[in-house]
């Protein structure tokens, strides 16, 4: 198991939106997906995941609906909205720009 890292502040929304860009998922699956995709480096705590999802709902970037998940059980599945897709593009381009700038600064000359 590789070492875990804190999710850089401000990027959680982007990570969730990106995860949902491939298709609707429920909360648990979002957390798993981020873990898997990052090779176990990034771990999303429930304590930040669910408030963040509420935030995205409030902003109108995602919608949520209940779908049956096995007998007597429902899962709340989140889906990206067009506004969310636009927001994701903005956040990714902003983040990439900053990231490249940081890399340029810290790379050995």
């Amino acid at each position: 198991m590789s070492s875990r890292a804190e999710i850089p502040p401000g990027t959680l929304y982007m990570l969730i939106l990106k995860t949902l860009a491939r298709g609707p998922l429920h909360g648990y699956a979002i957390a798993r997906q981020i873990k898997l995709m990052s090779d176990d480096v990034l771990r999303v705590e429930e304590g930040s995941l669910y408030p963040a999802l509420q935030r995205l709902l409030a902003k109108g970037w995602v919608t949520a609906e209940w779908v049956p998940a096995g007998p007597k059980r429902r899962a709340r599945v989140y889906r990206l909205t067009p506004a969310g897709r636009k927001q994701l593009a903005t956040e990714v381009s902003d983040f990439t720009r900053v990231m490249q700038a940081i890399v340029r600064v810290i790379e050995p000359a």
């Binding site: 429920h26 909360g27 648990y28 669910y50 963040a52 709902l57 409030a58 902003k59 998940a69 429902r74």
Partner: protein, 907 residues
């Protein structure tokens, strides 16, 4: 975009239960998935669930954090704070009542004064682009006086020859008798040009305005517009009123329109609102003040119209002013010159020295000189109420500080269990706001009441003024802002003390030992300020009370409270002079025969009422016939026993007698100033002077000097002529009675009616109240400042009482020890008193210094007293010391009753 987001947030707010259930189910699902995964990874079922639960953490905190994301949390916290504040205030009804009432008084008087400042000085006219409205006035070249009225031909000239105004209208205030069935009512109205209403941009509430052809030929088209108020009051808002006839001055007028609700003309310097409007050409029926007839349309010498015009879009006031000044030069070179050339050149009111000047109509709501007086008085009162509000706020801060001792434990507990300091400050601010909003709400009542009182005072500003009271949007906004500011100020002042809590010591049995010193210093400072502010107010009150007393003292009549007076107009009866003289003689004889009447007399102009009689006389100096000079002097006409009736002492010579009648040698009585001024060092008796360059009169007596127009007028040479030799149809009746004069009024009225029942006499009043009505402004300021000063003093007394009580409670143990060690009770009493008095004396000194330093601002309003008046200062020192003694004595007394055993055991 944000609308949709707000909609989403709102729907969550109203479905909070659903939000919580969704989140719970979602977390349950997450937890089960985690447990299943753990199990799949080889954990035992129970262990897997346990691990999942542990990993999940605090579900309640998560829910809270999720809710936070919807942005309602701060609003909820506010309502929580609000509930908490209300609970706190209800739990302490005594504290709440005192604090709210104090604030209500403080805020109320401020709102009241603001409503007057707003209505009289700040508010623009409620018409379209009122900043473009101007009034044409004339200003003498050598004074700041403003003459606002002009003649009809002046108006017509300005209207037809200017290029700066898109329109120029004229109006004139008139009083008229209106008849409604068998009832008659005296109503104020306005004569206006046909373009008056359209120029203001007004639409009639009903019907139409005047047509141009209705204002073209004199006395032809009797049409009228009614005010909305009159239409409602007298015609029940009947929409069929158009075309009906109403009777104005006994002439039928056809109603053509109703003015919009609330329209009350352009001016505030009137006693009542106009209730009807008629075209200028109806002046023969309405302009009864000028018996000029058709002359009124052509005579440049008869000024009766005031003007309002609208500047053309983009026209500058300065350029328009220049143009009008040029036009007035043309008037001076032409028609005015012919008219006024013969007038004496020294006459400063001679229009040949005038220049036209435009004054914005918003400013002309009051004559400029009135405006200045109103501004000065209201600035003074505004300062006074501001000081009272400060004292009130200090008092509430004091109360809050006293409570903070009790609350420190509570605050410490809340801090200890994790409340943030910001949250606690918010809590305190909310409490403050709740208090001040309650105070503000009740303050509105105080405001309405005090405004009513001010408006009901006789002539509170020396001249007629349309004083309307009541709350409107602007005043409510002001009240709200004052409340918020007051609330924040006094909520946050104690916050520092409360929050600088040392947790460990505060949670111990003896609370707050760590902050006692600083808070006490703050309280002392507050108390000193309260005393100082009250002193400033009281000094102001004292100075104005002295002014009022000095003003009254200039009245030379004796016991004016026992003289009944009324105006008597027999001119309307068109008696011949012998008939009129006979009427006067019979009337006086009948009234003097009434039981309870001592003396009765007639006088042309009653002194001290704002008016004076004046006449040109030529003084004849004995032995120097060439030294004749013509001067204007004060002049009055009196019946025989006038001086006796009002109690003015004759200094030399004799009073008028029955022999001084028409045909007998003309005689006069002069005042001492006359004798001093015209014949210094000579005996005035027997001297002669010419009146109107026609009659020569001889001086037979000298009376005491007295003021004529009002108390501020200079004493000028004055002469009295007997009514029998100088007939007038407009006199005032004065009756000296043995006792209370007003009960005799009906009897006097009966005697007048017995002689001629067509003669109407005005409302009767005592000479004293007549004189005092000329002192309206002095009385208002003296009265209000006294009331405000007393209020501030009472608040300061409550403040010092609170501080000393607090001190005694804090020093209980120390006092107990002193008593145990043998200190006598008297010593303890003196010790506490000394402390309280010391604080109060510092406040007193600061207040007196402040009063002395700022006194020069009010010099112009004072009379016969300097701002640093020793009598006032000494009185205030005594009053304040006495108040301080009383306020300190009660807690000091309590200190002497400390039982040393108990005080020491308590610790």
């Amino acid at each position: 975009m944000w609308m949709r987001e707000f909609g989403r947030r709102l729907s969550v707010l109203f479905r909070r239960g659903r939000f919580e259930r969704d989140l719970e189910e979602e977390m349950q699902f997450h937890f089960e998935m985690q447990a299943e995964e753990n199990q799949a990874n080889g954990m035992a079922a129970k262990e897997a669930r346990y691990a999942a639960r542990r990993q999940f953490g605090n579900a309640a905190a998560l829910k809270e954090a999720g809710w936070e994301m919807w942005g309602w949390a701060s609003a909820e916290r506010f309502f929580q704070d609000l509930r908490y504040a209300v609970r706190m205030l209800r739990g302490n009804p005594g504290f709440t009542a005192v604090a709210v009432l104090t604030l209500a008084l403080g805020i109320g008087v401020n709102v009241s004064i603001f409503s007057f400042i707003d209505r009289l000085l700040l508010r623009p006219l409620p018409f379209r682009e009122s900043e473009d409205l101007v009034s044409i006035c004339h200003q003498p070249d050598n004074s700041s006086e403003i003459y606002e009225s002009m003649s009809y031909p002046d108006y017509a000239y300005y209207r037809d020859h200017n290029s700066a105004l898109s329109e120029l209208a004229a109006y004139c205030r008139v009083d008229a008798d209106m008849e409604f069935g068998d009832q008659a009512e005296k109503l104020a109205g306005e004569i206006v040009t046909d373009n008056y209403f359209p120029l203001l941009g007004l639409r009639p509430a009903l019907g139409r305005w005047f047509a141009p052809e209705e204002d073209r030929v004199p006395d032809q088209r009797a049409v009228a517009v009614l005010s909305y108020g009159l239409w409602q009051r007298r015609f029940g808002g009947d929409t069929q009123i158009m075309g009906r006839d109403i009777t104005i001055n006994r002439r039928p007028f056809t109603v053509v329109g109703v003015a919009p609700r609330g329209f009350s003309g352009l001016r505030l310097d009137r006693t009542s609102r106009p209730e009807f409007w008629v075209p200028t050409m109806m002046y023969p029926t309405l302009a009864t003040f000028a018996a000029g007839g058709p002359d009124l349309l052509t005579n440049y010498g008869n000024s009766w119209l005031e003007t309002v015009g609208r500047l053309k879009p983009g026209a500058s006031l300065a350029r328009a002013n220049t143009a009008f000044a040029r036009m007035s030069s043309w008037l001076k070179a032409g028609p005015w010159k012919d008219l006024w050339r013969t007038a004496d050149s020294w006459w400063k009111d001679n229009p040949l020295h005038w220049t036209a000047t435009l004054i914005p109509a918003n400013e002309m709501q009051l004559l400029p000189s009135y405006r200045k007086t109103v501004a000065t008085s209201l600035a003074l009162l505004g300062t006074a109420v501001g000081l009272v509000l400060m004292v009130a706020c200090f008092n509430v801060i004091n109360l809050l500080l006293a409570r903070s001792t009790v609350r420190q434990r509570e605050m410490a507990v809340r801090l200890a269990i994790g409340a943030g300091r910001a949250r606690l400050i918010r809590q305190l601010a909310t409490e403050g706001l709740v208090l001040s909003m309650l105070g503000g709400a009740i303050g509105l009542l105080v405001a309405v009441l005090s405004s009513e009182i001010i408006a009901s005072l006789p002539l509170p500003f020396r001249f007629p003024l349309l004083l309307e009271t009541g709350l409107d949007f602007r005043v409510l906004v002001f009240a709200f802002l004052v409340s918020v500011v007051a609330g924040v100020v006094f909520a946050l002042a104690p916050a520092r003390a409360v929050l600088s809590v040392n947790l460990t010591s505060a949670l111990k049995v003896d609370p707050g030992s760590g902050v006692r010193l600083r808070r006490l210093n703050l309280r002392n400072a507050l108390m000193i300020s309260q005393a100082a502010l009250s002193v400033v107010l009281l000094v102001g009150a004292g100075l104005f009370l002295r002014t009022l007393a000095n003003a009254r003292a200039t009245d030379i009549t004796a016991e004016p409270g026992k003289v009944l007076m009324t105006s008597l107009n027999i001119a309307a009866r068109k008696y011949s002079e012998p008939r009129g003289q006979a009427f006067y003689r019979q009337l006086l004889a009948r009234i003097e025969a009434l039981p309870g009447v001592r003396r009765a007399a007639l006088v042309m102009v009653v002194p001290m009422g704002g008016r004076r009689g004046g006449n040109d006389v030529t003084i004849i100096t004995a032995g120097n016939p060439s030294g004749k000079r013509t001067v204007q002097v004060d002049w009055n006409v009196i019946s025989l026993s006038y001086f006796e009736t009002v109690g003015i002492r004759l200094v030399r010579g004799r009073a008028f007698t029955d022999y001084d009648r028409g045909g007998a040698p003309a005689v006069a009585i002069v005042n001492e100033e006359w004798a001093r001024h015209f014949w210094p060092g000579e005996d005035p008796l027997g001297m002669r002077f010419e009146v109107d360059k026609r009659r020569t009169v001889q001086v037979v007596g000298v009376v005491r000097d007295g003021k004529f127009r009002n108390y501020r007028a200079a004493i000028r040479p004055c002469y009295y002529e007997p009514l029998a030799q100088s007939y007038s149809g407009m006199m005032n009746l004065e009756v000296r009675t043995a006792n209370e004069p007003l009960p005799l009024a009906p009897a006097v009225r009966r005697e007048v009616a017995a002689l001629d029942k067509e003669i109407r006499i005005s409302e009767m009043a005592t000479l004293e109240s007549y004189r005092d009505s000329g002192l309206g402004q002095e009385r208002m300021i003296a009265g209000l400042l006294s009331a405000l000063g007393a209020l501030a003093l009472a608040l300061a007394a409550i403040g010092i009482y609170g501080v000393i009580s607090f001190l005694v409670a804090q020093r209980r143990r120390e006092i107990g020890i002193r008593i145990a060690l043998g200190a006598r009770r008297g010593e303890v009493l003196r010790m506490v008193l000394r402390q309280g008095l010391a604080l109060m004396m510092i406040g007193l000194a600061c207040g007196l210094a402040a009063a002395a330093a700022t006194g020069h601002f009010i010099t112009s309003l004072l009379y016969g007293v300097r701002p640093a008046d020793p009598w006032t200062f000494v009185t205030i020192i005594l009053v304040l010391t006495a108040t301080a003694l009383v306020a300190c004595y009660i807690p000091a007394r309590r200190a002497t009753e400390v039982d040393p055993m108990e005080a020491l055991r308590n610790e």
